[in-house]
Symmetry: C2
Subunit: 180 residues, 2 copies
């Protein structure tokens, strides 16, 4: 499937409600465990998505659209949320993410990007040359990957509880070696 | 985490809204592709979850609770939905799933199962002896696994579109050999 601005924005606009439905008011037993060292709990993922709204996707799109001679992105800090969100509740992070995302999707739509603009170049500090189209597609996939991750990490809390069913529930043995 | 009836029922009760938020009104480009032969699209998953409500979880719980001398489950048909849902729209399946699930969670809560009842035995046609507690935990994990699957299969529609970002988006290379 080719990247389509409206179909992509539709996914982006739905993610906050999906996460609120999965997580709001849920017991810490579902939302605080992770899959091992350097991996994210559901709580961490929501913080990481907030970081993305504040420091990653839209700021990088702005760098590309500014059209400067060297459209190089700032490196992204995957663990910014750890210090930022000490003492916060998950519900308050879900609210904050919803507000930031709504603003950013409205901004994205307001730009009315043309096909030519979607091909404008950026320079990723690790990946090298990319386009605005690839950045926006990656934003959509990033959301979906983290929804999948939250579902997987929650499911693993019942890995023992399902007994012999572990054979028929592959989500319980996905990412036994952490991949993200 | 030990299986807890109320925490588990809470997850079960939220799945229809999560799926509606992810899928209702979405373009077929997101909802109809799968990950390869014998794998499920988002459309297939919703049909499969309906099959679970009608033929799997509650019917098997009833077999266990009836306390007969041989509490053996009927085999489950993973592809029942293919014939059942020819010509149906995804939105109508989402509605139907929400109704069936609401009825089944209400029924589950109405049983007010005791710890002793949760240890009652059933006999799975492939897995052998199981308990009601394991069956109910597996129901919860089954939901979460399929939410993860839908997010993963949707994300893969943009595998080419993200360009070099594929390296940083592990969801795009999960289940390259189908596992479910």
């Amino acid at each position: 499937m080719n990247f389509d601005l409206e179909l992509g924005a539709e996914v982006l606009s739905r993610t906050p409600a999906t996460l609120q439905n999965l997580l709001r008011g849920m017991d810490d037993g579902w939302t605080k465990p992770n899959e091992g060292p350097e991996t994210f709990s559901a709580f961490d993922v929501v913080g990481h998505l907030i970081d993305g709204e504040e420091t990653d996707w839209i700021p990088r799109a702005r760098i590309i659209l500014s059209g400067g001679p060297k459209p190089e992105f700032e490196p992204y800090d995957r663990f910014r949320h750890r210090k930022r969100n000490v003492g916060r509740t998950l519900d308050s992070l879900l609210e904050e993410f919803a507000l930031l995302r709504a603003e950013n999707v409205a901004l994205l739509r307001s730009w009315k990007l043309t096909p030519a603009q979607l091909e404008l170049p950026g320079l990723h500090p690790t990946l090298g040359p990319v386009t605005l189209r690839q950045l926006l597609a990656a934003w959509v996939v990033h959301d979906l990957g983290h929804i999948a991750q939250i579902s997987r990490v929650m499911s693993k809390q019942y890995k023992e509880a399902v007994g012999p069913w572990v054979r028929f529930l592959p989500v319980l043995t996905d990412h036994e070696t952490p991949r993200s």
